[in-house]
Amino acid sequence: MDSATSQLWSKRVLYLILAALVLFLHLLPLDTKPDRWPFPDLLIALTFAWVLRRPEYVPTLLIAIVMLMADLLLQRPPGLLAALVVLGAAYLRSAAFGMRDSGFISEWSTVAVVITGVFMLNRVILAIVSVQQAALGPVVIQVVLTIAVYPLIVLLSQNALGVRRATVANTNAVGARG
């Protein structure tokens, strides 16, 4: 049980480190010209992939803190996208049990719907409170790229970082501890 606890906390720390790494890469002052190709939102893809595999590695509070930091550092309206990602993660958390036996394609399409929903709600709410927004085109590209990069993140999480779906034995262990 003790090793399971240390495993749990080391994975949570790993999530924090990965989030810091992604933010770090975003902030590198390599190209200050505006015609940059919008890049996928790796943090959201990573969060959703982990929530579907091991929800206990990414507790709600941790997601909220990480996404709020991202909002603050990346000059987004603070709090809104963070709240939407937390809600999306909560939905996936509850849907994870149902998706356990269906294949990857159905998981991918669910995640695609949730990602699209998060970005769409973000835009709609920003429009309602009349905040100046980026043009629609690059945002759509960003959503598509985020969805496209999701399988890669899943592959990386499963093979390199050891975040796989819990087996039945593991689930029971988690349940017993919780």
Partner: protein, 300 residues
Amino acid sequence: MAKDRSQRDEYTTPLRRLLLGVVVLCLLAIFLVWRIDSPRVERFRAQVVDRVVPSMEWAMVPVTAVVNLARDFQSYQRLSEQNQELRSELRLMRAWKEAALQLEQENARLLDLNNVRLDPRLTYITGVVMADSGSPFRQSVLLNVGERDGITDGWATMDGIGVVGRISGVGPDTARVILMTDASSAIPATIQPSGQTALITGDNTSAPAVEFLENRELVRPGDRVVTSGDGGVFPGGLLIGQITADPGGRLRVRLSADFERLEFLRVLRYQSAPQIRDPGDIVGPRNPEAALTPSEVGDG
């Protein structure tokens, strides 16, 4: 299925739901506060950035250097080609240098004759770019100078040649520069030689648009654009760039500053920049304080 359902219910216990609700409400509250009282939350953001980004600097500097080295290496491959280009440019520049020297002497003589004193307030502080905005939708960079160096919101920032942007968000050790290419940037400018005034507004492309131009006929591609100093936010007479027309016929500004690689930026000290400390008066002008005595109000 029944087992599934029971597991799920067990999983999302009321406590978890409560936590989720509280977290989401907190985040939305932060967003609403930001919407209502933006300057205060932006100051908080500047403090957070000021705390976080300098602590990444030890890793950022070498990584940036290595990537730039690799890019330079790529350009070495075209060395002979570039050499040719440089030679021909050098020949051109020699001619220009002669002309410039003569003009400089003439200018100095004329200034001397007129007893003109250049504005002594326009001194500058040079800062190094630490980080960019991190998002393709916002154009800004973070400088390693801040409140400690006396930087204030609103000051103009230039590279060696042209205007780059203005300071917006100052932490103790860092300051954010909103670039002219950002969608929230609008700078009053004069177009030489016609003297038309316009607003140079960024739109996330590399050439900001020229807006609120009174008479388009007087402006031709190639005209110089300089800041006009209208509104008192920016000092006047700083070079911005040259007018170009995009394929749609819309006037844009080709910026003189080298936005490809911003590294060292000058922040111009300019004391008349107004301070933004409150969210602005949306509902109307504030009532004059103590202008009327209570008895007078009673009369009215």
